[in-house]
Subunit: 146 residues, 2 copies
Amino acid sequence: MSSATLNTDALSQRLADSGLRSTPQREVVYDVLLKKRDHPTADEVFARVKNGLPTISLATVYNCLETLVQCNLVRAVNFERGPTRYCPNLLPHAHFHDEKTGKTHDIDLPADLLEKVNSVLPPGYNPSSVEIIFRGKATGEVASSG
Amino acid sequence: MSSATLNTDALSQRLADSGLRSTPQREVVYDVLLKKRDHPTADEVFARVKNGLPTISLATVYNCLETLVQCNLVRAVNFERGPTRYCPNLLPHAHFHDEKTGKTHDIDLPADLLEKVNSVLPPGYNPSSVEIIFRGKATGEVASSG
DNA sequence: CTTGCACCTTAGAACCATTCCAATTTGTTG
DNA sequence: CAACAAATTGGAATGGTTCTAAGGTGCAAG
Ligand SMILES: [Mn+2]
Ligand SMILES: [Mn+2]
Ligand SMILES: [Zn+2]
Ligand SMILES: [Zn+2]
């Protein structure tokens, strides 16, 4: 069984769990996100998806992306007021936005750090999510994560 | 000497340092931000500023806000793709966005926590800023910070 | 089957925060 | 004062996203 099939199955499963249908558009959008994890914008996803599905519309790409976010298969990430970017990395992680190249890097967050971060909240604050965004320059050749 | 005069002086000083002029518009915009620290949007600042300066334009409010951010007297804060909000709190702090009320709360960040957060970055990553945003519900009556 | 109906996709219009533009006003300097 | 630069203004333009209305798709009940 190919990994594309596994992904597709996982997707169908999640969609079904939410009472939604698996469609070619949703599958291809999800595949595109898994294949190149460089935090593409909706426009970039649109361009990539058209290779496999030339008649898809931008509206549908937005719809599919929102569906994937709703199903918790993808995270939406924003930097300032730039276009929303999409990330299939479901592990807790921060983002490093390289001001020089415009590239976005995933930064793994150990559970104990998340705990410490949450501990700065006074009693009564009940966070449902935390987001950590670094901005700066990533010098030289550093590891993975598009 | 009133505190408004002190603020105005601090502002003039910073502007002069950047080779910029102190203007009534810039002063009133800055005063509005200092007076009610609830992270207003440009539109909200516009509405408040019109009380003291009825003929000011929205474009000027945007210009003034950008100037204040450039001079490091004010921070611009973004939540998702909502309108940019403005914050005169210059201490290192995170933001808690209350999903119920829409209100934004400042959360002080101890220096040692910032250090720990920065320490998750692999070598080669050179951050110029970090931003921490909590999202959730703030239950009951909790301290200050609009 | 086949009809009903909800779900999906689509193109294009609408939206809205922000930026840009050209014209005017203001302030500083010689 | 005159000249010039900086700042303000109203309105147009921008651009990512959402909305709308119309058609397509596919499971489900009869
Ligand atoms: Mn960016
Ligand atoms: Mn908000
Ligand atoms: Zn990511
Ligand atoms: Zn703040």
